[in-house]
């Protein structure tokens, strides 16, 4: 994985000291909250429902055991013994003290991490495929391109005050594991006639106005990648609305301007920028690429797995994914125990995951946007030992992509923007399906819960989505069906009137039962919904 050079380290260290001085001046009363707020937000420090919250960037979700240990130490030393992995492949701490914040950033800088650009109207942490570098179906590892874009976008003076926040995802396979088309810019590295290039999808997003990004250019040569991205941003920066924050995202611009006109302006800007020579030398991309070379996979490994333990066999079936190297798999560590809080991990669990990455996965971990952790390169022969260690720590739940593998935002339990609680609903649903035994029969069923219209829980993209709303001071939950963040991307539709907390759990089970009754051979929940439509579900839900 990428290692800081001296320039990277100097930049991050300097930012830590700058923030230390800003925090000191705030504590001494030399800065007002109005003056300090944009400064702390630039360093990922929010003031949330109960305390300050620090969001730490994990670039494209990749980290090593040293970094995971450091994240665990921060949870232990400065927070309350746990952290929350987010749908942007980051980690958040919920109980941070302002007087500790600079020390935390200094601790992060020691392991080449930071919290820069995890808030504000700038280019946020760039996300990617959590199986990058391991997936059997990718044309190339997308992370060098994500890293190049990370370096380009970090402290970019022209894009530090965009009309609104800006999110980029980079993938390199036809299977979309990063919700690529629901980003402001989604980039897919593709192969065409033996050459690699980048397909640009611009103007997607969730939030209050969900949109699927159209493809504005199917093949940008990779030695023009940054220039094209810059052109996309420039047109947005020029025309994006600053008069209304609810209409300020690029998706609104592309929609109102029209994809064709937006593309025309991007191409004109691109032609202009090509003359300016803003693209970094191709040698820089080559340099970055050397950090992402394959680890030394062993040859002639066995593909045999002893499946005599049924619990282990179930975990292998559900939580391991095919790898490009024979004898290896990618193993998913579920942070979704039945009745647990999706995405939360304790200090001890983080230390254990770091140790297991060191012992079994070439020292590498990934954070999934679905709030689980991946050990990307595990020998099949090591799986039983790995699973045994995970089971003992409460990390062996065999539920990847099942109805129990729920995405949930922090909701009203932690978030000052939320209208309703998400986590208790997720807990009750996972408990319901664990108890009624339907999880196995339901197969792949992606359930996503947001506590407000900002959609941090990706409810628009759930096969089943839940949106918490405030109904005259009382929590209420809308049910949505038919969304997908994957290559078969679609936006979920609301079924009808909302439900109270108990009612929404019943409603999810009712929808699941409709699927079990109506499905045909091989159909997932989403396939059945698309075939039969909303009506049978509405009839079952509302009579």
């Amino acid at each position: 994985m990428y290692k800081y050079d001296s320039y990277d380290q100097q930049m991050v260290d300097a930012r830590v000291e700058e923030f230390r001085d800003q925090a000191r001046r705030r504590l001494e009363g030399k800065l007002t909250e109005d003056q300090f707020k944009p400064l702390r937000l630039m360093n990922g420090l929010y003031l949330q429902l109960h305390a300050y919250m620090l969001r730490v960037a994990i670039p494209y979700g990749t980290l090593d055991s040293r970094q995971m240990h450091a994240l665990a130490d921060i949870a232990d030393k400065y927070d309350r013994g746990y952290g929350h992995f987010t749908t942007r492949q980051n980690i958040q701490y919920n109980w941070i003290k302002l007087e500790d914040a600079a020390d935390i950033l200094a601790d992060l800088a020691k392991v080449e991490m930071h919290a820069i650009q995890t808030s504000g109207n700038c280019i946020r942490n760039i996300s990617s495929d959590h199986f990058a570098g391991a997936a059997a179906d990718e044309v190339v590892d997308p992370r060098p391109y994500a890293e190049l874009l990370r370096q380009w976008s970090s402290f970019h003076p022209e894009f530090s005050y965009l009309p609104r926040k800006f999110k980029i995802a980079v993938i390199a396979s036809d299977t979309d594991r990063a919700a690529m088309r629901l980003h402001d810019i989604g980039i897919q590295i593709v192969e065409q006639d033996g050459e690699l290039g980048a397909a640009f999808y611009v103007g997607g997003g969730m939030g209050r106005t969900p949109m699927i990004a159209p493809c504005i250019n199917p093949f940008v040569p990779l030695d023009q990648l940054v220039t094209y991205a810059e052109a996309c941003l420039r047109v947005y920066n020029r025309h994006g609305r600053r008069d209304n924050k609810y209409k300020a995202r690029i998706k609104i611009l592309v929609h109102e301007m029209g994809a064709e006109e937006y593309t025309r302006q991007v191409e004109a800007e691109f032609a202009h920028l090509l003359e300016q020579g803003v693209e970094p030398p191709f040698a820089e991309l080559e340099r970055i690429r050397t950090f992402f070379e394959d680890p030394l996979f062993e040859a002639d490994l066995t593909d045999d797995i002893d499946r005599s333990d049924p619990d282990f066999a179930l975990w292998v079936d559900r939580n391991t994914v095919a790898h490009k190297a024979d004898g290896y798999v990618s193993a998913v560590i579920s942070l979704k125990p039945v009745g647990g809080i999706p995405g939360d991990a304790t200090t001890e669990q983080m230390h254990l995951m770091a140790d297991l990455a060191r012992d079994y996965s070439f020292d590498e971990l990934r954070v999934m946007h679905t709030q689980n952790i991946v050990l990307p390169h595990v020998r099949k022969a090591d799986l039983h030992a790995l699973w045994t260690a995970l089971e003992a720590a409460g990390l062996g739940s065999p539920n990847l992509d099942t109805v129990e593998d729920i995405i949930a935002c922090p909701g009203l339990d932690y978030c000052s923007l939320a209208n309703a609680r998400s986590i208790p609903v997720a807990q009750q649903i996972s408990e319901r399906f664990a108890a009624n035994g339907k999880t196995e029969a339901l197969g792949q069923l992606k359930l996503k819960i947001s506590g407000c219209i900002n959609a941090c829980g990706h409810h628009h993209a759930g096969h089943i989505g839940i949106l918490g709303v405030d109904k005259k001071g009382v929590e209420n939950y809308q049910l949505l069906l038919g969304g997908s963040e994957a290559e078969d991307v679609s936006l979920a539709k609301i079924t009808g009137p909302g439900f109270d907390e108990a009612g929404i759990v019943d409603a999810v089970e009712t929808a699941a039962d409709v699927y079990l009754r109506e499905r045909q051979d091989g159909e997932r929940f989403l396939d059945t919904y698309r075939r039969i439509g909303m009506t049978p579900f509405k009839e079952a839900l509302y009579g």
Binding site: L27, E33, L49, L98, E99, D413, I423
Partner: protein
């Protein structure tokens, strides 16, 4: 009634105006109807509180109960982590919040 809340500048902890100081416990809050803006301005400029604002509340068994669920969650802590709330031993805490 109106009660005044904010966050401790150093720790970020939720605090409530008691009439003379700031408390971590909402039951210590007093009615500030009519004077909330003046108190908020004065206390914030003295850095005894960060980002103060007034909310609606009612008296419930002798102590203030915030009217909106968001403020009740804020007063107690995350409902999903009773071990982190201010009243971890209170079995009725969920009922109070909801």
């Amino acid at each position: 009634m109106r009660i005044l809340t904010g966050n401790d500048l150093k720790t970020g902890a939720v605090t409530w105006w008691t009439g003379s100081d700031w408390s971590l416990h909402v039951e210590d809050a007093v009615d500030v109807t009519g004077s909330e803006d003046e108190i908020a301005r004065r206390e914030e400029s003295a850095r005894r509180v960060n980002a103060p604002y007034a909310i609606d509340a009612t008296m419930d068994e002798g102590s203030p109960r915030p009217s909106h669920i968001k403020d009740r969650v804020r007063a107690i802590g995350p409902t999903v982590r009773p071990d982190l709330t201010l009243k971890p031993a209170d079995p009725d805490i969920g009922n109070w919040v909801i």
